[in-house]
Symmetry: C2
Subunit: 200 residues, 2 copies
C-alpha cells in the first residue's frame, strides 16, 4: 500500500484492513470517517476497544466470552436446567441467544474437528464437555453445530464419545427455514425436510 | 439490536457498526475476530486509534490531516512550486498522492457547494484559498474536483471567483481512463474524450 497519509494513520489503516469484511480500500474509507468524527466516534471507539481488550476473557466453564472467569450465562442461576447446548463458536452462541429459545447453558467447542488442520478432540474443549456432563448432572446435550460436513462430523464424534454417559443427546432439527421457499432451497435441505416430515 | 454479548462488547459492536461499509452483522463479525485476536490485533488497534484520535489535526493552511498544525506537505520545502491543487476532501488528496503525479501543494475544500444542504463558499475554505493565492504567489490553481455535478459546479464557482486574480486556472483532463474499454464507458465520458481529442 502506498503511504500517503501520515505514518500513524497508515498504521491504523493497515490494522483496520485486517478485520473481516474490510480490505485496504474500505479500511481507508473507514479511517477517513473516523478522522472526520474524531470526538464523537474515534475516541469512544478506541476507548471501547481498549476496554474490551482489557476486560474480555474466555469463560473457564463454557468457553463463552465474558468479563470475568465465569461468563454471565454460567453464573445465572435461572439457567441451570440440566441442559447443555454445544456450539462451535461464540458467534453461534450469540445467534442462539438472539433467538431466545434456549434457557440452559452452553458449551463452546472453539471450532470443529479437522484432520486436515490437525484439530482433534483435545483442541476443541471436548474433554471439558465430558467432565461437565459428569459434574453438573446434565440430562440433555443439544448438539447445535452447523449443518456443514465438519460440523456434523464433530457432532457424530461427540455423540459417539458420550454414548455411555446415560445423557440424552439431541441435535437441532433440519428442515425448511421459516419463510423459506422451496424453489430457493438446496436439494439437501428439501431431502432432510421430507425425511423428517410430521403429521399435519 | 439484541444484546446477547456482554454490555461492553455490545457497545463496541454498536460503535463499529457506525463505520462505513460495516452493518450490525459485519460489525459483530469484526468484533468476534478482534476478540479472538485480543493480543495481536485488538490491543494494537485500540492503541493506534487512540493515538490517531489524540494526534490527528487539520492542517491550518491546506485542510489536509496531519499530526501538527501544518501538514507534512505544507512544511515540505521541496513542494513549493507555486501550484495549488484543489481537492474536495482528504481522500481525494490521498488519491492524488498515490498517483504521485503532482509535486505542488494542496487545498482541501472539505466538500462541494450545495444549496440544498446549505453549504456555501464560506463553509468550504474557499476564502482561505483566495487568501493563499494572494499570499503564496501562486501561479496555477489546478481544480481536481470530482467529475460530478456538485464537483463541477464548485469548480466553476471557484474559477469565476478567481478570474480577476491573474492566476492560471486549470482542471484535470476528462477522457478515456487508462485501460478503459469504450464498450464499458458511459456516454458522457466518450463525448468528453471525443471533444478533447488530440492529434495522434
Amino acid at each position: 500500500m502506498a503511504d500517503d497519509a501520515p505514518r500513524e494513520i497508515e498504521a491504523l489503516i493497515d490494522l483496520m484492513a485486517r478485520l473481516p469484511g474490510l480490505g485496504p480500500r474500505s479500511a481507508r474509507r473507514a479511517v477517513l470517517t473516523l478522522l472526520k468524527k474524531r470526538g464523537q466516534l474515534m475516541a469512544p471507539l478506541a476507548q471501547a476497544m481498549a476496554n474490551v481488550a482489557l476486560t474480555a476473557r474466555d469463560c473457564v466453564v463454557c468457553g463463552n466470552i465474558g468479563t470475568s472467569d465465569r461468563c454471565a450465562i454460567c453464573t445465572d442461576d435461572r439457567r441451570a436446567t440440566g441442559e447443555i447446548c454445544v456450539v462451535e463458536n461464540v458467534a453461534d452462541l450469540w445467534a442462539m441467544e438472539r433467538a431466545g429459545a434456549f434457557k440452559g447453558r452452553y458449551h463452546v467447542l472453539g471450532g470443529t474437528l479437522s484432520a486436515l488442520d490437525g484439530i482433534g478432540p483435545d483442541e476443541l474443549r471436548i474433554p471439558a464437555l465430558t467432565r461437565r456432563i459428569a459434574d453438573e448432572g446434565i440430562t440433555e446435550v443439544i448438539l447445535a453445530l452447523n449443518a456443514t460436513v465438519d460440523g456434523q462430523t464433530t457432532a457424530h464424534y461427540i455423540a459417539d464419545s458420550l454414548s455411555g454417559s446415560g445423557t440424552s443427546i439431541t441435535s437441532l432439527a433440519q428442515g425448511v427455514p421459516i419463510g423459506g421457499e422451496l424453489d430457493y432451497l438446496d436439494d439437501g435441505t428439501i431431502g432432510a425436510a421430507l425425511r423428517a416430515r410430521k403429521r399435519f
